[in-house]
Symmetry: C2
């Protein structure tokens, strides 16, 4: 099954929905013209379709292989990674001063989506490298930036994030990897990290591990965590590779999906290298400030994992659509004999659901990426703060909604195939298996929901949430004012959903005010999911307005997608809000076996 | 992870909810005393926990292996099947006149659940054999019954259902396997069947294939399909095995789950046996009446696949619960340091959701099984008809709701484990992968929904549906009359859901009356799912009434489960009903790319 990057919808979001214009108005992005952007997107589409997508099924069958501390990646990955980095894709969104190309996040989010659609297992290596680059860029010294960033952008080295330990997953307070300061200012790191994506592989000369660890006198909990650069091979003054550091891959995991992505167990300080006992690490920023630095990286990563959700939904949708057009089975009203199953109302419902969720999640994410660009580049510092608040509010929505809906969307992708969907050869099952991790890693849905309630809703008294409620109400008014029946239907559905959103924000605020935090957290995931449904529905409703009166088939279809979303998906907001309303009763139940 | 059969909940449904009393009152079930039933359930629990459950992970890793037409099942299956059949479990629900034990369906549904929880891949062999026995029992000649049923109940032979062909899956009208009558009254069968579960294996001496095929002069479509017995080895007069028949296993499928269950491609008529060209088959019943006979088997199978849904949800729940009790991570309000994650509100939400869905689906299924017993054994023929109508109405609900909710429940089972859930060794992922087929085989959810609208709602003008609405309203009144606050909460939630159910039935009737069938079928899956949610919620609401005033922990927990269901799951009914309300708008959209 051929994958095609969703160029039309990318262009729609950028051009018709006005995202690109907002970005182009920012200082530093003057050269990001429409022509340049289109050229980049088309070249990126061609590249991932031809060179990356075909490796997806291969990797699922072969799995990354561990042997004696080494990891052999699957057929074609090494060459593909070389091609990817040589074509400059790894450098796209990074600072020109360190070898980057300085493209806006809004564009990088799109190329990232296509890469993830093409091959999630492959894409994780560039993704983690992006995160590593970003953390060093934000928190590292000038020397560290110059030393580590350019080789990563060139694809000679890759990067990782080392957070999790067996006893410390969601709860980083529990981590106990040790970092002991040496006379020369370096640190010796020892401990065990698990779930380290691409912690070992054969696609690059060196691997830059970013490691969270504790110094001996650090305070307990998350306030005593420091961030270190621990390269697999030490780097000489001239940038050449030196001694083998004391970090080792003890094994890789056998997982439900993303089989081609090595998920490694790393041992620090096993005295097997050329540096003596303890991996040599270099402090990034200040001691005990590691979590804040890692959060930079994690917010990036969370956004990108959200992108993975709709990226795989898009690919699953394309595959289901193609199958539905080909497979002949069953009659419909008025047909003479069996018809392609795409004519069956329930197959249409499934394809509509997949597409509406995918496009709604994408619109939400690209809108978020645009706000990240605004937050970083807008000339007005006050406005930058506001844009940042908006972006940060949206990150948990993008992460949790896109990935949770993706489980449903890719499951429908299996379902459209009927029995064939369960057969691995078909390929539909891989998307369903692969995407399942996205609602877990980089913070589970519950972690996102805690963040959404705690830091994003309560801290500002619901201000950003209510800003969106007001914006959404304006859209409702515009839809109503159109006098168009279909837009009126969307208005009616959206109005109800926005009302439920508004009420829910207030309920969370009241629960917090009255100290009913257990109740609030009992409803936190429903609250976050309802926000996701209404934000995605709002963007599609805005899209429906933009499409009104335009006769090209793309616009007609987009409007149909918005109508379907309003009919089938917006009602979920009310149901989730009802759940939240009963939170106190549920919290009182506790849990007994 | 140890699996335990859900004995307490089985007993609750049988004893407290009164299912067993209704069955015991039927002629022929006088000996099915409480003591006998409890002994059977306890012995069954012990058997599946000790002998079947431990093979589940093994089978997932090993996969059934095909080689040169033979299928080797995984380690331990052959011995386990021998133990299973020798202990008499295969005979449990069948007629004593053919070697069965004559137990009611209500009891068989329970032992079937535990077997499926223990090992879905294994359980499929007995399940298909049950279906084969049932079809021969209902439609076969006396000679066929005597010849084929006893060896299947003894476990010497197993049975299969051969419906699907590459071009004929959901649409049996398209099947074209040929059956040509011979001078001796037998038929020669040729063609290809796919997705035949346990179509070849090494666990028994012989396999009895039930095959749908067409005679040369048969009318086109489903009215020209006949049913044949095609044994792998012909059976001599004395019951001993004779020549190898011309049916061959060409390959088995590589699937997302149920790896230990061989899903075979069978070739009929390849002239490789000892009988010449064409497999020898024996007509069951009349020519061209095959579909009706197969429907007997399919209805049984559909019910049992529904059971699989909550069976795997139960096992997934037990595993998630155990993990949540052990895994220490993160603080909660008032805790000093990290706590077992079961104390986190969102983990409680997930476990509650899993348990509420599982127990609601189980209660619905056992209530359905009881009606099957009533439909077969009640002395009054008019009442039997009514019971049959009720049972048949519920079968698509049991099949579709239990399996669709199971995707969610087992997904939550993965989620509770965090990152460990994605690692195969943990075992949580297997349930999620295994259960995915249940919403597909024996009629996809859409096929169930078409049946639910067409044959189960429109044919009787919504009579059975409205019977249930009235019954549910009575429960609402009882809950309200209790004066108890918690029961009052359930009443309020159930009342809304029942109202939505009622309105939805009427809407389907109106759409059909006005010829808006495309609209009706656009909303058919939401309609079926909302029925599932409200039926399951109704049974739990009834359970909450039964539990009121009882202080034993089980009853308290059951009531909490009912309250949670009312708070978190009943609101979905309203959302699904809202979807149905927009069906005409959605149907008008059609689907354009």
């Amino acid at each position: 099954m051929t994958f095609k990057a969703a160029l039309d919808d990318f262009k729609f979001n950028l051009m018709d929905m006005g995202l690109l214009k907002s970005v182009q108005a920012l200082p530093g992005f003057e050269e990001v013209t429409d022509d340049v952007v289109l050229a980049v997107l088309e070249e990126n589409a061609r590249f991932v379709e031809e060179q990356i997508a075909p490796l997806n099924a291969v990797g699922d069958r072969e799995h990354a292989q561990w042997s004696n501390g080494q990891v052999k990646t699957v057929t074609g990955f090494k060459e593909a990674f070389k091609a990817y980095t040589q074509a400059g894709w790894q450098a796209l969104q990074h600072d020109v001063n360190y070898g980057g190309q300085g493209f806006p996040k809004t564009i990088a989010a799109i190329t990232s989506e296509s890469l993830h659609s093409a091959n999630l297992s492959f894409a994780l290596c560039p993704l983690l490298t992006d995160g590593c680059v970003e953390a060093i860029y934000q928190a590292g010294s000038e020397e560290q930036k110059q030393k580590y960033i350019p080789p990563m952008l060139e694809g000679r080295w890759t990067g990782t994030m080392n957070l999790t330990e067996p006893q410390a997953g969601s709860d980083l307070a529990l981590l106990n990897t040790k970092a002991v300061k040496q006379a020369d200012g370096t640190y010796r790191i020892s401990g065990q990290k698990i779930f380290i994506t691409y912690g070992e592989h054969d696609m690059a000369e060196n691997i830059v591990h970013l490691v969270l660890a504790r110094t001996p006198d650090a305070p307990p909990g998350v306030k005593g965590i420091s961030l270190f650069i621990v390269p697999k091979f030490l780097v000489n003054e001239d940038g050449s590779l030196g001694k083998r550091n004391d970090v080792w891959c003890a094994s890789i995991e056998e997982k439900m999906g993303i089989h081609a992505s090595p998920t490694t167990v790393l041992i620090y300080g096993d005295n097997k290298g050329e540096v003596g006992e303890g991996a040599i690490g270099y402090l990034v920023g200040e001691e005990n400030a590691g979590l804040a630095h890692m959060f930079v990286m994690m917010n990036e990563a969370r956004f990108n994992v959200g992108v993975q959700g709709f990226a795989l939904s898009e690919r699953s949708y394309q595959q289901a659509l193609a199958y539905a057009q080909e497979r002949v089975q069953g009659n419909v009203e008025g047909s003479k004999g069996a018809v392609p199953i795409i004519q069956h109302p329930d197959v249409q419902r499934m394809l509509h659901t997949m597409r509406a969720l995918t496009q709604g999640a994408r619109a939400t994410a690209l809108y978020t990426a645009m706000h990240q660009d605004l937050a970083h580049h807008h000339p007005d510092i006050e406005q930058r703060k506001q844009f940042k608040a908006i972006q940060e509010y949206l990150v948990p929505i993008v992460k949790a909604f896109s990935t949770e809906m993706a489980i449903e969307a890719t499951s429908l992708g299996v379902q459209v195939h009927g029995g064939m969907g369960f057969i691995e050869e078909t390929g539909a099952a891989q998307h369903f298996r692969d995407v399942r991790i996205t609602a877990i890693y980089e913070g589970t849905t519950a972690i996102q929901a805690n963040d959404f309630i705690g830091r994003k809703t309560l801290r500002d008294g619901g201000a950003v949430g209510k800003y969106f409620v007001a914006e959404m109400q304006k859209t409702v008014a515009e839809l109503q004012a159109s006098g168009n029946e279909k837009l009126g239907f969307i208005a009616q559905q959206l109005e109800q959903a926005v009302k439920a959103y508004h009420v829910s924000i207030d309920e969370v605020l009241v629960m917090a005010k009255e100290g009913a935090m257990k109740a609030a957290f009992s409803g936190s995931v429903p609250f976050l999911m309802l926000a996701g449904y209404v934000h995605a529905g709002w963007h599609l409703a805005r899209a429906a307005l933009v499409c009104e009166g335009k006769s090209a088939p793309f616009y007609q279809t987009k409007q149909a997608t918005a109508i379907f979303y309003a009919a089938h998906l917006l009602p979920r907001v009310t149901a989730l809000a009802a759940t939240l309303k009963s939170s106190r009763i549920v919290a009182d139940l506790g849990f007994t076996e």
